[in-house]
Amino acid sequence: MRYHVLHATEYQYEQPVQTARHLLHLVPQPLPWQALERQSLRIEPEPTTHMRSADPFGNPVDRVEFAAPHDHLRVESELIVAVGDRPWLATASDGPAWERVRDALDYHAALLGEAEADAQRMRFESPGVRVKRELEEYAAPSFGAGRPVIDAARDLMRRIHAEFRYDPDATEVGTSVVEVLENKHGVCQDFAHLMIGCLRSRGLAARYVSGYLRTDPLPGQARMTGSDASHAWVAVFVPEAGWIEFDPTNDCLADERHIVLAWGRDFGDVSPLRGVIQGGGEHTLKVGVTVMPEGDGVKFTTDQSRGAA
């Protein structure tokens, strides 16, 4: 499926910002099942410097600097991207027992394969996901002895979806996983962090995936949560199969509706737009995301929310 994605972010500052630097994670990683056909980034005002490179996890990152005063910042990202089937969707099995995966990732003073070395990076506490005992306890019912790892993760996802309420006003970017667990509500970012923390507490490797979700408001069918906003989900490392993607917000495996932008240990590694400004006073933020499947027209929404479903 081909998509046309428009992602606009706009800050209006009450006072002029004197200087600013931003990191943008808005350009997708190249993937076997996802082809980037067109990509453009329009930034206003014109940055003093602008550089693209790869971050340590392989995601393209744009670094922009503003050395002159400005009262607004507008970033428009436009993508045409073709998404095919994930290779692991064909995997029939539910993978090995979760304990076997955990033990295989434990330290054995032995040479690591490329995939295992990669998985190690996503196995431990990170700044946005502290691994607390509460998470391990919450995960326990899904991690019975000998349960296949994919089945266990699917069950964990199902429970999060069933037990947590989607509420865009309940949490903020910095809300901790334990708070989310206590209050049983949040947005996609919170559910992804929670699921990652649970998986890591069990010794598994799990990463945060940032991207977009196509929603299909077909007649007679409910519109899926997360429509027209950037989205986040979780990938779990399964030996042989690779990284299997789970979407706890929608209780499904990622499929061709899920467009991958970037991955990291948690939101902080791949925030679409992260910056430090000097000056500026109060600000207002508008984020609009439109994901158009091939053939449709293009229009912008002006969603006022923080833009994470």
């Binding site: 200087t19 600097e65 330290y107 190690q120 431990f124 925030s271 430090v276 400004i277 000097q278």
Partner: protein, 872 residues
């Protein structure tokens, strides 16, 4: 020997190595000279040494936390007068081992922030790196311009009962304490000057020169640039701020905070009065995760946005590299012997204390089984776990810990308990019967190494840390421990190089000071303003106190001070309550006093002086002055700093919440002392500081503040029809001109000569005219120095015009229309003249306020308030 009086309290312990005694009968030879020197000392000499140390430390303000806070978190650095002594041959081994270890750790860092082969090959567990909050992913792939991730390294060493040295811990991020080692040396070498010379103790200066030279040589300079090195501090709240500012001064590196620096493009700059100046090297004392809010900890307000990027671009050298804290883990110790073989192809020269990382199953089993003999430590600093001593746990406690270890094994390390060696210390002074006895305390040494293009150089000496009591194995200054100077003896004559008294030639002569950071100038400016405001406040309060103490609380009915001062002159100009009311009115003019409400005048005066929660009380202004001074601590001489602290002490001892609440009767004498201290402070400002552009801002601050105070007081006096006798007296006293008046006129004061003295006499340093003259002069020199400033231009012109208008006023205009021709006048018909002069003074007052803002915009405000992180 054991019967010796010096040793009558000195306990040898069988389980410890004794640094001084070879056995019950014999001293180790390298301690002999010191012991003899002590033996030849009288109790008075011993006491004098102790007192010298105490005095020096107090005087140098060597405190953990230099920001003297009301809660009193500052705590003096403690130093034992006796050095810890190591012989040359033993030192040679330590030197080689520490250099080797620094090299090894540097190579480990290069791998972790590069290819990560050590993890891939299984030589190092991924958990100890990726699970460590000190591993900073954004720094991955960075290659320092020097090729070194470590530039300064410190090893904590201890000696086991068999006499061997062991590494207890590695300090790879921002090793602290080298400055204290230096400080200790400068004190202790003066206690035993002959001994120090005769024993041929290695000097420390070479180590610091290596640091200076190496950083300069590795600085990534562009063609034609001179290497510029700064020392980046987290600021005065940091517990080792004193050390940082001490080192900065010793090394000649500007001490900067994150807000002094800015990244433009991919280079780092220091914001100075003259503009942006490129920084090539940052000697870092700021923790690495705080160093860049853009890529690291977003909530940090101490860092420099873009610093990671500048380091990645190789445009700035960070010593140590960001992310080097990842090696500070007890878990790593278990793997270093293998890593040494692997990376250096040689065995590790000095073992580390035996450690078992529980992430490996056999190690976990061993630790659980031997829990009672081991210490449990966290593998990652983020755990904030204090070491747990297995021997202190009962069966239930051990079971609890066994479960905890099995639960999350990779987060814990089991470590052998170290029996530290012991060395002699002098007991605290004050216990006079002990003046000639030594006691034994456990010790450990922190040893420093610096990377140079010729390899690692180890400081011959270090910071010896002393436990707080004889049977404690924890070395921590926070827990009541102490420190010692460390004397490494040489068999050959030692290098006499000193950074303190370098012999410079004529070509080295420097006239202008180093570039002045904008933030420094700003704080000097506010130090000047607040110091002057304190003085003015004290004068106002003392005047009111004296009136109150003379006449007691005002009679009922005269309790409306403002009214009396403003409008009551005609009704009751001879009545005493009017004088008190006048005085209170002046205090209120400056917002010094809390609102009247039900409080007595006495209570309000006490609070106005001492309550540091009052918005504009004397204590509040003093706190602000001290804060500003703290920010520029490295620009003030020690004497200057002390006089400010003494001032602070005067008030702190009188706090209302102190056990004996200050009563109004003692307040005047307190205020007298405050005024005296203010005068010595102003003496330092005028006579002792280098007159560079930083100093000019201090004085600008003082002059602007004094101008504002004086012009306000005089305008108030004139508008309140203050021509009553007490009013003139008040004016003279508040303007600090009473003495001058008496000397000049030898009679009770009259209004016109008073106004001349207080407003127009430019030879009187307390007059309005003196302030305006000086201000115009300094503004001219600032304009010459920094070229015409568009922002400041208008402010200066308006100010100049206001001053010219004031100077054009003639006192003769006041005289005409007065009955009796201007002698002592109690009533006059010339309100217009007084009002004119008052208006002119207010215009000058307002123009100086605008001027103050313009100066801030032009020279300071590119230093903006804390940056904020945005996330979408």
């Amino acid at each position: 020997m054991p019967h010796h009086q010096l040793l009558s309290l000195y306990a040898r312990q069988s389980g410890r190595y004794d640094e001084m005694l070879a056995d019950a009968e014999r001293l180790r030879p390298h301690w002999q000279p010191l012991f003899e020197a002590l033996d030849a000392s009288t109790p008075e000499q011993m006491r004098a040494r102790q007192a010298f140390v105490t005095e020096r430390i107090r005087e140098n303000g060597t405190t953990y936390n230099v920001y003297a806070d009301a809660q009193g978190t500052d705590r003096p650095w403690t130093l034992d007068p006796l050095p810890f002594i190591l012989p040359a041959d033993e030192w040679a081994q330590i030197d080689a081992a520490v250099a080797q270890r620094a090299d090894l750790l540097d190579q480990v860092l290069a791998d972790l922030y590069g290819p990560q082969n050590l993890i891939r090959s299984g030589a190092l567990p991924a958990a100890l790196v990726y699970g460590h909050n000190g591993f900073l992913w954004p720094c991955q792939g960075t290659r320092p311009p020097s090729g070194h991730f470590l530039h300064v390294y410190a090893a904590d060493l201890a000696r086991s009962p068999d006499g061997r040295w062991w590494v207890i811990a590695d300090r790879t991020q921002v090793p602290s304490g080298a400055g204290y080692a230096l400080e200790n040396r400068l004190i202790v070498s003066r206690l035993f000057p002959e001994l120090f010379r005769d024993l041929r103790v290695h000097h420390l200066a070479d180590f610091f020169r290596h640091l200076q030279d190496s950083l300069a040589r590795w600085a990534p300079v562009d063609r034609g640039e001179t290497p510029f090195v700064v020392l980046l501090t987290p600021g005065p709240y940091n517990e080792t701020y004193f050390e940082q500012s001490y080192l900065a001064r010793y090394l000649g590196f500007p001490l900067v905070e994150g807000q002094d620096l800015t990244v433009r493009g991919d280079s780092v700059y220091l914001k100075t009065l003259a503009g942006l100046k490129r920084v090539h090297v940052i000697l870092r004392r700021l923790d690495d995760d705080y160093a860049d809010p853009l890529e690291l900890r977003g909530e940090s307000t101490l860092g420099v946005p873009g610093l990671v990027e500048a380091a990645r671009a190789g445009r700035v050298l960070l010593a140590n590299a960001l992310g080097s804290g990842v090696l500070e883990s007890a878990g790593l110790l278990a793997f270093l012997p293998k890593l040494a073989e692997h990376l250096l192809d040689e065995p590790l020269a000095m073992p580390a204390v035996a450690s078992w990382w529980c992430g490996e199953a056999p190690a976990l089993d061993y630790v659980v089984e031997h829990l009672a003999e081991l210490v449990i430590k966290p593998a990652y600093p983020s755990q904030r776990l204090q070491p747990v001593f297995g021997r202190d746990l009962d069966a239930r406690g051990r079971a609890h810990w066994a479960e905890r270890l099995r639960h999350r094994p990779h987060a814990y390390v089991g470590q052998e308990l170290v029996e530290l060696s012991q060395a002699p210390v002098m007991p605290d002074s004050g216990s006079s019967p002990l003046d000639r006895r030594l006691v034994a305390r456990a010790i450990g040494v922190r040893v420093y190494a610096v990377a140079t293009p010729e390899g690692w150089r180890v400081m011959p000496g270090g910071l010896t840390r002393v436990s707080g009591s004889s049977d404690v194995d924890i070395l921590s200054m926070q827990r009541g421990g102490s420190s010692k100077d460390t004397w490494v003896l040489s068999e050959v004559p030692v290098s006499q190089f000193s950074l303190l008294k370098g012999e410079l030639g004529a070509g080295d002569i420097v006239r202008a000071g180093p570039e002045i950071a904008s933030r420094t100038a700003e704080n000097l400016f506010w130090l000047g303003r607040y110091a002057e405001r304190v003085e003015n406040s004290a004068r106002l309060l003392r005047f009111a106190c004296d009136r109150l103490n003379e006449e007691g609380e005002a009679a009922p009915g005269a309790a409306e001070p403002g009214e009396a001062a403003l409008g009551g002159a005609g009704d009751d100009f001879l009545g005493e309550p009017g004088v008190l009311a006048t005085a209170v009115g002046y205090c209120e003019l400056f917002g010094l006093l809390p609102p009247a409400e039900d409080s007595s005048v006495a209570r309000r005066l006490v609070d106005g002086a001492l309550d540091d929660n009052g918005p504009a009380s004397l204590a509040t202004n003093l706190r602000r002055a001290v804060w500003a001074a703290t920010q520029v601590r490295d620009r003030l001489s020690l004497d200057h700093w002390h006089s400010l602290n003494r001032l602070h002490d005067i008030l702190r001892r009188q706090r209302p919440e102190a056990s004996a609440p200050t009563d109004i009767a003692t307040l005047p004498s307190t205020l007298d002392r405050v005024l005296l201290a203010c005068i010595s402070l102003s003496g330092f400002a005028m006579d002792e500081m280098m007159r560079d552009s930083g100093w000019r801002f201090l004085i600008l601050g003082r002059r602007i503040e004094r101008l504002q105070c004086r012009s306000r007081i005089v305008a108030h006096f004139l508008e309140a029809c203050g021509g009553q006798p007490a009013g003139v007296d008040a004016l003279l006293e508040l303007a600090d001109c009473a003495e001058a008046y008496r000397q000049r006129y030898l009679r009770t004061p009259d209004i016109l000569p008073t106004l001349d003295l207080v407003v127009f006499d430019a030879d009187n340093p307390h007059s309005v005219a003196f302030q305006t003259d000086m201000l115009l002069r300094y503004l001219d020199s600032l304009q010459r120095e920094f070229a015409a400033s568009p922002a400041g231009g208008n402010g200066i012109r308006a100010f100049r015009d206001a001053v010219a208008a004031l100077n054009a006023f003639s006192l003769h205009d006041l005289e005409t229309g007065r009955p009796g021709g201007g002698a002592m006048l109690q009533r006059c018909a010339n309100c217009a003249g007084c009002n004119d002069l008052a208006r002119l003074l207010r215009v000058v007052h307002d123009a100086s306020a605008t001027l103050s803002n313009r100066i801030a915009e032009r020279f300071f405000t590119h230093v903006l308030p804390a940056a904020r992180v945005l996330s979408a």
